[in-house]
């Protein structure tokens, strides 16, 4: 009898243990395995982990401040910040698109910064007026082409890609891509809705099923000759070339002709979350990212255009001074977003 009794007790214990295990699931953060001594910074990052983690690791090595990174889609993370409100665990937001940062600023999610380091390092057109977000690295939405299939003079403007001669020969990002949304916004601001709609319709027809989730896949498809042309951010091409120098691909910077709109520029940037409990560490990180050492990482590892004037661009890249950028200011990308999305959906891009 006592044996049975003790058995049932142990069963109770097991059951209670399971319940406890379940209950601990209710407390966020209990399972964080290796909690370092200093308070870690929590970063929501819309940039691919591959591109941002090495830079953040360098910060940790420099300062001893650990970083908890959540990599996901930029828009998704902004949605998440809105929903989490004051309770968000995030200290900083890193995105691949200035428009998203400006939207986050307008929604009151970001903390304005008064930092001389930022103002000295980053030109004013690449940050918010109140420095609630700060651009970190520049990227251009360019055409990548397969050198065995296309002559560079066959394409002058992005709009040329809507031409029927490129049917089934181009690859494009999907419509959730913030680069695409920003790019379409700039085209709308320059050429107007009608011309943009026409362009998107052509693009949709020409791309067919070659609509990709990731820019690296587009570059891959062009390198393999699966398609002749693709639209991507420039650094994906140079990263591919750094790994496979013989790949038959090259960058074509579009819209440089007389009266053309100029290449579409965007920046990846960072904003400190309003109400962060780690403002000092967060500012340290921003300072690190805009300083020469941090900027050099974006230039060397990621093949982006550093925004700090004293930091050199990777020599493999097209010299920044040799081409024009489109004249639409970055901060306008936010207000252009909604009507751009409406147009994208009307056309029915995937």
């Amino acid at each position: 009898m006592s044996c049975i009794h003790s058995l049932s007790v142990s069963r109770k214990t097991v059951f209670a243990g399971l319940l406890l295990l379940f209950a601990t699931g209710f407390v966020p953060g209990v399972f964080v395995s290796s909690a370092p001594a200093a308070d870690p910074l929590t970063i929501y990052s819309g940039r691919s982990e591959r591109l941002i983690k090495p830079v953040l690791d360098a910060f940790t090595v420099n300062t001893g401040i650990h970083i908890e990174l959540l990599s996901s889609g930029t828009t998704e993370l902004v949605n998440r910040l809105k929903a989490e409100g004051d309770r968000t665990p995030a200290d900083l937001l890193i995105t691949n698109d200035a428009g998203s940062l400006e939207l986050a600023r307008a929604a009151g999610l970001l903390h304005p910064l008064n930092m001389r380091e930022v103002e000295r390092a980053i030109p004013a057109q690449f940050r918010a007026r109140d420095n609630a977000w700060v651009g970190l690295s520049g990227r251009f939405w360019i055409v990548v082409y397969n050198t065995t299939m296309v002559k560079p003079d066959q394409v002058k403007s992005l709009l040329d890609l809507a031409d029927p001669q490129w049917k089934d020969k181009i690859a494009i990002p999907n419509s959730g891509s913030e680069y695409l949304q920003a790019g379409v916004s700039v085209i709308r601001a320059t050429h107007g809705d009608e011309k943009t709609r026409h362009f998107l319709q052509g693009l949709k027809t020409n791309a067919g099923s070659q609509v990709y989730q990731k820019s690296s896949q587009i570059v891959d498809a062009v390198a393999k000759g699966q398609v002749a042309l693709g639209i991507v951010n420039h650094y994906y091409v140079y990263r591919h070339l750094a790994a496979q120098p013989t790949a038959p691909i090259a960058v074509l910077i579009p819209d440089q002709h007389e009266g053309g709109m100029g290449a579409i520029m965007n920046v990846a940037g960072v904003g400190v979350i309003k109400g962060t409990k780690h403002l000092e560490s967060a500012k340290l990180l921003v300072e690190f990212l805009v300083a020469q050492a941090g900027q050099k990482l974006f230039a060397d590892l990621d093949k982006e255009y550093p925004l700090h004037q004293d930091v050199k661009t990777d020599p493999a890249l097209v010299e920044r001074k040799s081409f024009r950028a489109a004249l639409v200011p970055l901060s306008k990308l936010a207000e252009l977003r909604e009507p751009t999305l409406a147009l994208i959906e009307q056309v029915g891009l995937r």
Binding site: F22, F31, T75, S175
Partner: protein
């Protein structure tokens, strides 16, 4: 009167009702949000996306259904009606593809069949250097991957139908002069119809709610579109509308499956039952059959697994096996354990009440818990997000909402084994315990729980396994620092870093194998 009062205030009952409420509320919210959306959004979606998405989803489901039907029934027939060397081995091997998550199979095939991939190279040796094979990132690619991954559902159901069928029917047909093939077409297959239909409906349900394969193969279905809307837009209206359509579609197939499954119980054989005689094949037949089965199991399991092993051994992959990787393993394990425990704890009162006091209310609560079947991952995530944002924003972004999503999504899998476990236990045993003087609580601990323990364990393992493989809800809801193995596979595979994705993928497959054995012996429907 007092018994009625007793029933109404029974704490167990309250728990069950609360659970049913929590499960139905998210679905209700999504529905409300979709129905209250601006009609302009509806009409815009109708004009642009919905026809394409519906067509893609339904046509994928249809082609996968046809292929799994052929593969599933033919393989089941071979292992039950034919004798050849290695038959028992094949009987087990045909279940193995269930251990392969769709996104793993999809990424292996996007390498194999991809542009410039190994299959194309071989084909070009035969057909000339310019020859192209069909792209895996297409309707046919998605069909192939989904069919290879899901045919075991049809196989298992057909096999058990063939094994339990009374062979006298066939013998009578043969004795009356029907040829072997006409017996097959006019007697055997018609008798199997309900089982086959249930299997195919299950396959369709699976295809309709799959996210992993279609996202990696870039094939636009409703489930994938819901995910894209949630991640690419700042409001969830369009996502809700697409979700509602998806739930409707899934509901149709869920009801179909249940209807046929019930009918499949009806042809219990009366009178004397005899197992069928297996037809002995000669060497030529053996070679053909072995080749056929080998091709299927090879394509669906052996080849992908050996590629994963090869990739996992590459230096690039080995370099990722650091403490971070074990963190992902730990996250996967702990999340799955929480979801499984939560699912069993929550499922138990529902299943218990429905089998002990089958009132309309209790049965209703149980049926509500099956709602998870019609909530594909992204929809479950959307539903839970919307619910928590409205009712309990404190928990937004915490582990809790991820676990709630898992529990809602996978509770049906658990209930499938909890329910029969309770039904098979005679209530008399509890009554005897009462008569002998045990209180309600002691009866629970000392009689009921020990008796249903097996059902429990199976339910727990099933939910654990499902959660470990889960992708879309985890992607959308995971808090900081909660990347799982499934997330790593998807992140690396979606950028075509095949080697880097391999160790996580291989681990998921290996961990699924023992659970699969359990599943096949008990209740595999939930896979």
């Amino acid at each position: 009167m007092s018994t009625l009062r007793h029933q109404l205030i029974s704490p167990l009952q309250l728990v069950a009702m609360a659970t049913a409420g929590i499960i139905l509320l998210p679905l209700g919210y999504v529905t409300t949000q979709a129905l209250s959306a601006d009609p302009a959004v509806w009409s815009r979606l109708w004009a642009t996306r919905i026809p394409e998405l519906l067509f893609n989803t339904v046509s994928l489901a249809a082609s996968v259904a046809v292929i799994t039907l052929v593969l599933g029934v033919s393989t089941a027939w071979l292992v039950t009606r034919v004798e050849f060397p290695g038959r028992r081995l094949w009987e087990g091997a045909l279940v193995l593809p269930l251990a392969m998550p769709t996104y793993v199979l999809a990424y292996v095939y996007s390498y194999l069949l991809g542009f410039g991939g190994p299959v194309e190279h071989v084909w070009q040796l035969v057909a000339g250097p310019e020859a192209r094979i069909f792209s895996p990132h297409s309707y046919w690619g998605a069909t192939l991957v989904m069919a290879l991954d899901t045919f075991p559902f049809v196989y298992l159901l057909s096999r058990s139908a063939l094994l339990s069928m009374n062979v006298s029917f066939e013998e009578v047909a043969r004795a009356s002069g029907a040829s072997r093939s006409s017996t097959l077409w006019r007697v055997t297959l018609p008798l199997m119809r309900p089982s086959i239909a249930a299997g195919v409906a299950l396959v369709i349900l699976y295809v309709v709610s799959d996210f992993g394969a279609v996202s990696l193969l870039r094939y636009q279905t409703l489930t994938y579109a819901v995910f894209q809307q949630m991640t690419g837009r700042s409001d969830n209206t369009a996502a809700s509308i697409l979700s509602l359509l998806l739930v409707g579609l899934a509901l149709i197939f869920l009801i179909t499956e249940r209807w046929f499954r019930q009918r499949s119980r009806f042809y219990q054989t009366t009178g004397r039952y005899r197992a069928p005689q297996r037809h002995q094949y000669g060497w030529l037949g053996t070679v053909v059959v072995t080749g056929y089965l080998g091709l299927i199991v090879g394509a669906a399991f052996a080849l992908p697994t050996s590629l994963l092993i090869q990739w996992s051994l590459s230096p690039e992959a080995q370099a990722t096996l650091d403490s971070r990787f074990f963190g992902f393993v730990w996250n996967s394990g702990i999340l799955a354990a929480c979801a499984a425990t939560g699912g069993v704890v929550i499922g138990l009162p529902l299943a218990y009440l429905a089998s002990r006091r089958p009132t309309l209310l209790n049965l209703g609560c149980l049926q509500a818990a099956y709602a998870g079947y019609v909530l594909p991952g992204p929809v479950a995530a959307l539903a839970v997000l919307v619910l928590f944002a409205k009712l309990a924003p404190v928990f937004y972004g915490s582990v809790l909402i991820l676990i709630v999503a898992y529990v809602i999504h996978f509770l049906p899998a658990g209930l499938q084994s909890l329910e029969p476990a309770l039904q098979h236990m005679s209530p008399n045993l509890e009554e005897v315990a009462h008569t002998l003087g045990l209180g309600i609580r002691d009866t629970w601990w000392r009689v009921t729980l020990p008796l249903v323990r097996n059902g429990f364990v199976v339910a727990w393992v099933l939910i654990f396994l499902q959660t470990m493989k889960e992708l879309p809800a985890t992607l959308l809801l995971r808090p900081v620092g909660f990347d799982t193995l499934a997330i790593r596979v998807w992140m690396e595979a979606s950028e075509e870093y095949y080697q880097l994705a391999a160790p996580s993928a291989l681990l998921i497959v290996l961990l699924s194998l023992p659970a699969l054995a359990l599943l096949v012996s008990k209740d595999w429907r939930a896979a």
